[in-house]
Symmetry: C2
Subunit: 323 residues, 2 copies
């Protein structure tokens, strides 16, 4: 049976898309089954998935507002999703307030989805991947996946993006080390924002610093000459945004021509499969009966009456027993 949401979703109906994303965000077992069936019924979408990371204060919302508006002006449909595994703590700060992107949120070619408040990273990964698929199916050409620079969320976003963009603020040269090497290694493009007014010169210096740092990284198969690249932009004046988009476009075209685009997607699909598989196995521990048994065994372990390894063996036997 076809889901009622499928047809309006494929027609690009925003309410249907919103409701479908709410469905994939739900943890209720019947919702999960319905979401899974819906996702399985979707045709492959053709959107470009752009991951965007930047710590608070670099002007991420202003950038997305300006960059997204520019893309829609070219006739492209843009969806913005947020990945914020820390949102329970921070009170759902990122994208929680659509007014941060007032212009874009009222744009008929744009769709903005605030991050939900649950904080489980595994769950975040699954529902973001599913939300991306839904946005694609609803006819968006670009899916921007925004994340704050916290813990593993960048890795997560990079693993579901075709391009990974790091947005930074102008900084002194000695602050360069503040960006972890691992994050730099994932970036396809580093954009130094606020390259306007008094900050223009510092922004250019920062670009030069990062360009130097990027040259020291190992050459990746998926990069043509000159990538990864660092560039100055200003979300306020719009300077550099067109050039940044050209770079993203050219890089994507090159990767498509050389087979890297499809290869990366294939690897991501395989990673998703493995993540779902591991998550599914570990989910057995969350069933009420299993939780009770784990709590009992855990108490005996904590009291010293049962060695941890023996308790784990007993629990594994219990899980494997046919019921």
């Amino acid at each position: 049976m076809t889901d009622d949401l499928l047809t309006p979703l494929l027609q690009g109906d925003r309410r249907a898309l919103s409701r479908a994303i709410t469905l994939v965000e739900s943890t209720r077992p019947d919702h999960r089954d319905r979401a899974q069936a819906l996702i399985a019924a979707l045709p492959d979408g053709g959107a470009l998935r752009i991951g965007l990371s930047g710590t608070p204060g670099v002007g991420k919302s202003t950038f997305i507002e300006a960059f997204g508006t520019r893309l829609t002006a070219q006739g492209l449909r843009v969806a913005v999703l947020a990945v914020d595994p820390s949102s329970t703590r921070s009170g759902g700060s990122i994208l929680g307030d659509k007014t941060r992107m007032e212009l874009l949120s009222r744009n008929p070619r744009a769709f903005i989805r605030p991050s939900p408040s649950s904080a489980h990273l595994g769950g975040v990964a699954r529902r973001t991947r599913e939300a991306i698929r839904l946005c694609e199916a609803a006819g968006h050409d670009i899916v921007l996946i925004e994340t704050v620079g916290v813990g593993q969320s960048e890795t997560l976003v990079a693993q579901m993006s075709d391009l990974f963009i790091l947005l930074l603020a102008p900084a002194g040269g000695d602050e360069l080390q503040g960006v972890k090497r691992g994050i730099m290694e994932m970036a396809d493009l580093i954009l130094v924002n606020k390259a306007d007014g008094d900050l223009l010169a510092p922004a250019r210096r920062t670009v030069a610093d990062y360009a130097g740092a990027l040259r020291l990284l190992r050459k990746r198969a998926q990069d043509p000459e000159g990538f990864p690249k660092a560039m100055p932009v200003s979300a306020t004046t719009g300077a550099g945004l067109e050039e940044a988009w050209t770079q993203m476009h050219d890089l994507t075209a090159w990767r498509r021509d050389h087979g890297h685009f499809d290869r990366i997607r294939a690897e991501q699909a395989r990673d998703w499969f493995m993540a779902e598989l591991r998550g599914g196995l570990l989910a057995q521990l969350d069933a009420p009966a299993a939780r009770r048994r784990i709590a009992d065994l855990g108490t005996r372990v904590a009291q010293g009456g049962l060695p941890p390894v023996e308790a784990a063996r007993q629990m594994l036997d219990w899980l494997r027993a046919p019921r």
Copy 2:
């Protein structure tokens, strides 16, 4: 049936201890079964478990040599274990060469175990926990668990230690941020090494910097007034080593008196149980038949013929089917 290794192990026989650790390091299923039975048969040991972290160059080996020798001079038996999840890459650098601790390695009251070359973090955790239990059972009073400051290894070591010590080198004030906040939060004692000669003044400044940073951290229930603490030491001259040991001793005594020592151990045992449980569930994926099936499904997923979530569902069904 009692394992042949048990009696000599409990008598403190070094060869038996070495062989028992080799046994827990093995991944062969029959070795694993034997190791598990041996561990389950061990009485509770009374050793103090001290985790020690420090990046290469801070003088970790020299410190362990000097500190360990001092402890043995007081009649204490000391075991040194290494946790190095990166050792396949670095060529098993840490403790790989016993000559780094020439004096201690020839000391009859000391036992030094180099880190094995496998790199799987989950496996590292299990075998280190089991090796600690073996060292305790063999009559060691102190088990020093050494790790390099790489990735998650500090967290791992802190989770199996009664005390967690961070060894640092003297540094400029702006380098303080190089130590991640998360690591600082785990430390019970920060020792700034090389506090001798020209580096004495910088070492004292570094101690003051860290003492200031530690005061800004949230107060933990398991700490008496004044802890966590930063102190200068010199592994070369021996300055501060006695005082560092006194601090460790006093902190441990306070925690024992206030119930925190046993509470922390109980939590660690519970964490160990959960880690074993999760590891045991995921180990199903490593069986040869499962690997073949995962490879097949993964290929279909990568080729786009099967959605990742559907592939995971099929694999989970296969794992659950009685065979």
